[in-house]
Amino acid sequence: MIAAYVVNGVKAGLVAGVVFGLLVALVANPLVAFAEERAQVEHEGATADGHDHGSGDLEGHDHAGGDAGGHDHASGGLPAIVSNGVSVLSGVLWGVFLGVAGFGIAFYVLEPIVPGSGSVRSYVFGGAGFLTASVAPWFVFPPAPPGVVRSLDPNTATLLYCGAVAAGAVASVAGMYAHDRLRDARGRLTAGVGAVLPWALFVAGAVAVAGVPTVPVPGGMSATLATGLAGLVVFGQALTWLVLAGAHARFHDSSGASAGPTDTGTVAGSTADDVPAGSP
């Protein structure tokens, strides 16, 4: 039953969300606060000692006003405990969101063309999800440490962000489709090449348009700290997708029984609400 896919997506999402929430609580919250402090201190000190990180700072001030005050995050209106708590909760919900959208809905539709079989499919799909939802937008907006201010206004940035995710999704699905078509006709090797080709094109296109993604270093922050933060972001998302895929592989009945058109309500183990009212 289709509902089983959504339920599995939510369950896997909760598991991954709790893991990612813990990462936010134990690592990201203190680290972002620390980096923010550094960026702020350096920001204030920068004008005095005349370092040449002026360009970044200048761009910062013509940033669209809708976000005004948003740059003072750490010391802003909300007490740290609130923003830390909301961030952890958001981390859990992020896992649920990826679980439902990816493994609940997209996986239900795409399962027949996801390469592999059994639980391998969950991991392959998780990898494709990581590429689509995380890596694709990073080509346009590389993970930025606190203190970096983008020159784009929020609406353009949102459009670009969604466009990058959509392009990544097209590349991922095209790769799966090519793999599915080529596997039987041309063998595994050709199918493998066909599977990665759309993503290679996406990467080439993204680099041609937006340049090689580089981690922006806010004025004064050490490059090591900025790179470390970006590494944490990549690690966190890869971990989230890995846990999602692992949990999904456990929950999912990969025999395909739950997607059969003939099993609506009659399959053993289906829940009571699948059974039509009045059936024996």
């Binding site: 972002v32 609130v82 059969g260 058109p261």
Partner: protein, 60 residues
């Protein structure tokens, strides 16, 4: 094995799900995604600041 093409899956979804079910799930997912990734309201944005930095979805 049954329902083993993408086309079958979509056909199955069309016949077994009501439009209301489809719309409610899609709306819930869209609302969750919008709140987490795109919401720019300063207070909400600020509260989720650490999360967005951790997930790499900073859009400001």
């Amino acid at each position: 094995m049954t329902a083993n093409t993408v086309h079958d899956r979509l056909a199955l979804a069309r016949t077994t799900l009501t439009p209301t079910q489809v719309i409610s799930v899609l709306l819930a997912v869209a609302a969750l995604g919008f709140t987490l990734v795109l919401l720019q309201d300063p207070t909400a944005h600020e509260a989720m600041h650490n999360f967005r930095h951790a997930a790499g979805v900073v859009c400001h």
